[in-house]
């Protein structure tokens, strides 16, 4: 790899890759995302390599090991180029047939393509498969085209051209202006304007400033950040470098989960390769701009995803939040202005710079722009990562992409935002995916984990479950959070065990008010959300447990099931 010293050289490099590539050469893209790996895609990769060798096709067929394709439910997933044939549930036993039939003879194997469970119809390409067809995959769509360990793949599809544009055709103020005009809002939970945050840090009087990727993804049931960061690390990195330029920062941090080895591995490879090409480090692309990045591992506690706790953790201290009279964008890591954004927020930046804020703000709703990645899980036919324009109705996500509820059960509710979010009943399923619309219903979007629940789910137990989760994940420093969660959990546990008493609901509401109002950070302040939203829409279930000593969903073990 030779250093690239100007945008023109970058262009030449890209053209060089493309001219060397034969677009008709077969390429087998295999998903090695976390879901597919769990289903044995590593054995599949081995089998493919072996078979290709056996048939002496090494020079004629490429294998591309990629990140998550999205349709986790049907893994291991394989896409065969150039025809873009999608195969599902592929096993090593299928490999000889795939090579001789599909790759060599260009025949589709019926058994491996998507079959619509309702109509029995077969679908061969993403554009025909309902799960993919209805999505707008701007951020995650390239995952099938990229081996995350090869920067050349990312460059070949136009990667780092936004960085070149920002550094050579735009001033830092102009970059900031575009992000503000695009009205990009943070994807990590708060929906706070990224542009305003960047501007605060840019204007803060300090020599040194930091930019940080929040890849902690602590919300259980959320796996889209991991899918994006492991599958297309350069997309996030390019966004981060552009952000650093706009803010005036020369040091970045990428904060990731310690328990997902692929995250660290792919990120470190990406950083090293970007540095070799001169896209990171000193004098990036010959522009005179310097920027370095360090990877930091989290410590495996939910609260470490909170901004001030995360910054403490990067300093090597225990990840405990501090009161935020002063924003972290003014005083963050080592009291320096620090801009923290979620993985997906950063990933949006390159396309906004490339295609412009006008294009971007054409997608989505009035106040929520762009697309959103959603981790769809729970009682749903198609678990996976979906990407839809903001404003898409929840119904479309559950039924068109998600394929509805399995086993002929009825939909009861969807839950957003994990332990800090809330549940929406089936009757409000036509609500659009929009930061403000969901917040108004008491179910803030959070990072994008969307949990679908069927009629057998007890909503009291859902509230109990999330408090049980938080009891182990709070830092314990402030009393309203530590004790509030513990006491609420005790009462809710009693209720689910048939030991609920008159007045419990009122007591819970009082505790919720104190924890919600007096806690130090957003963990404690939002901890009552799941309880409050389930009470709002499913009060009768609480009452049935307490007065009737029964669980209407027939789910709580200790309750009478009548």
């Amino acid at each position: 790899m030779a250093r690239v010293n100007s945008p023109a050289e970058l262009d030449r490099l890209r053209k060089g890759f493309l001219s060397k590539r034969d677009p008709d050469k077969p390429c087998i893209a295999i998903c090695a995302g976390i879901g597919c790996l769990g289903l044995g895609s590593d054995r599949l990769i081995g089998a493919l390599e072996e078979e290709i060798k056996k048939q002496f096709l090494e020079a004629k067929v490429d294998i591309r090991v990629t990140g998550c394709h999205g349709f986790c439910e049907k893994g291991p997933l394989v896409v065969i180029y150039p025809e873009e044939i999608c195969y599902f549930g592929v096993t090593p036993e299928d490999v000889p047939e795939i090579i001789s039939q599909t790759v060599v003879e260009k025949k589709v194997i019926d058994r491996l393509v998507y079959t619509d469970p309702n109509t029995g119809e077969k679908a061969v390409h993403q554009s025909e498969i309902p799960f993919y067809r209805n999505q707008t995959r701007l951020l995650i769509g390239n995952n099938t085209r990229i081996n995350p360990k090869r920067i050349d793949d990312y460059l070949a599809i136009g990667g780092y051209s936004a960085l070149a544009k920002a550094l050579f055709e735009m001033s830092a103020e102009q970059v900031l202006g575009e992000i503000k005009k695009a009205n990009l809002r943070g994807r990590g939970g708060g929906g706070f304007s990224a542009g305003s945050k960047w501007e605060t840090a840019r204007n803060a009087p300090a020599e040194e400033k930091y930019v940080i990727v929040n890849g902690h993804e602590g919300e259980p049931g959320a796996f889209m950040d991991r899918a994006l960061l492991t599958g297309n690390p350069h997309e996030v990195l390019e966004g981060l470098i552009i952000g650093a330029y706009a803010v005036g920062s020369h040091q970045g941090f990428i904060y990731i989960r310690h328990d997902t080895p692929q995250l660290r591995e792919n990120m470190e490879v990406a950083l090293a390769q970007a540095e070799e090409y001169g896209l990171l480090g000193e004098n990036i692309l010959g522009s005179g701009f310097n920027f370095n990045v360090e990877v930091h591992l989290d410590i495996g506690i939910f609260v470490s995803g909170e901004s001030s706790a995360l910054m403490r953790s990067i300093e090597g201290k225990a990840p405990e939040p501090r009161p935020k009279y002063i924003r972290t964008s003014v005083s963050g890591i080592w009291e320096k202005p620090s801009v923290l954004n979620n993985v997906e927020t950063w990933a949006n930046v390159p396309q906004i710079i490339s295609k412009g804020s006008a294009w971007y703000s054409g997608i989505g709703t009035e106040r929520s722009k762009g697309t959103k990645l959603i981790s769809l899980s729970g009682n749903i036919c198609n678990t996976g990562v979906v990407e839809v324009p903001m404003g898409t109705s929840l119904r479309e996500i559950v039924y068109d992409m998600g394929g509805g509820i399995p086993d002929g059960k009825k939909l009861k509710a969807v839950h957003f935002g994990g332990p800090m979010g809330g549940s929406i009943p089936e009757s409000l399923i036509d609500t659009p995916l929009d930061f403000d619309a969901l917040t108004k219903l008491g179910a803030p979007m959070g990072a994008g984990g969307m949990l679908v629940m069927d009629e057998d789910t007890c909503m009291v137990d859902v509230a109990r479950y999330f408090l049980d989760f938080l009891a182990g994940e709070s830092c314990g420093k402030c009393v309203p959070c530590r004790e509030g969660i513990r006491q609420m959990l005790k009462i809710l546990t009693n209720i689910t065990e048939g030991k609920g008493r008159e007045g419990d609901i009122q007591l819970l509401e009082e505790l919720a008010e104190v924890a919600g109002g007096a806690s130090l950070c957003a963990l404690g302040r939002s901890a009552p959300n799941p309880f409050l939203s389930t009470l709002r829409y499913f009060r009768d279930e609480y009452e049935a447990h307490i007065t009737g000593k029964r669980c209407p969903a027939l789910s709580c073990k200790e309750q009478a099931h009548t």
Binding site: I34, G35, L37, G38, L39, C72, E73, G75, G218, E219, P220, G221, A222, F223, R226, H258, D259, T260, H296, L297, I299, G300, I301, F302, S313, I314, E315, G316, K317, A318, S375, S377, G378, N379, T383, G384, H415, G418, G449, L451, M453, T457, Y465, F469, G472, E473, G476
Partner: protein
Amino acid sequence: MDSDRIDQIINKHQGQARSLIQVLLEIQSENRWLPREVLEKVSEKLEVPLSRVLRIVTFYKTFSFTPKGHYEIDVCTGTACHLRGAQRVLDTVQDLTGIKPGETDLDSKLSLETVNCLGCCGLGPVMEIGGKTHSKMSPAEIADALKKCE
């Protein structure tokens, strides 16, 4: 315990208090527990008071103060797995092994932990045994998989 390897990790960060958590994570992942002598060495070399090291190590369940078993069993109790019956999986594992989350069996063969979302919710309920993912297991399959941990 390979003390050269541990020294190597610590020496790389000599005098850098800011690397405390990264050093502890690295030792934990290689050695699978943090003996007190090692923590004393970390404290000395990184120039961090031992009390601060202990405070971190004792509070976060990522770190272990006692040797872990040869096989780590992680049962996912994340939301998706919870909805799909993680509790039944956990109950079965507890019955079969006689240990509870956070514990290690007497011959240091198995350790049991619960984890929050392994990121493959489509496979739920999920558990990992010695780093290998198992999905949608029946009690009989769990018993089989555990028998293989020798």
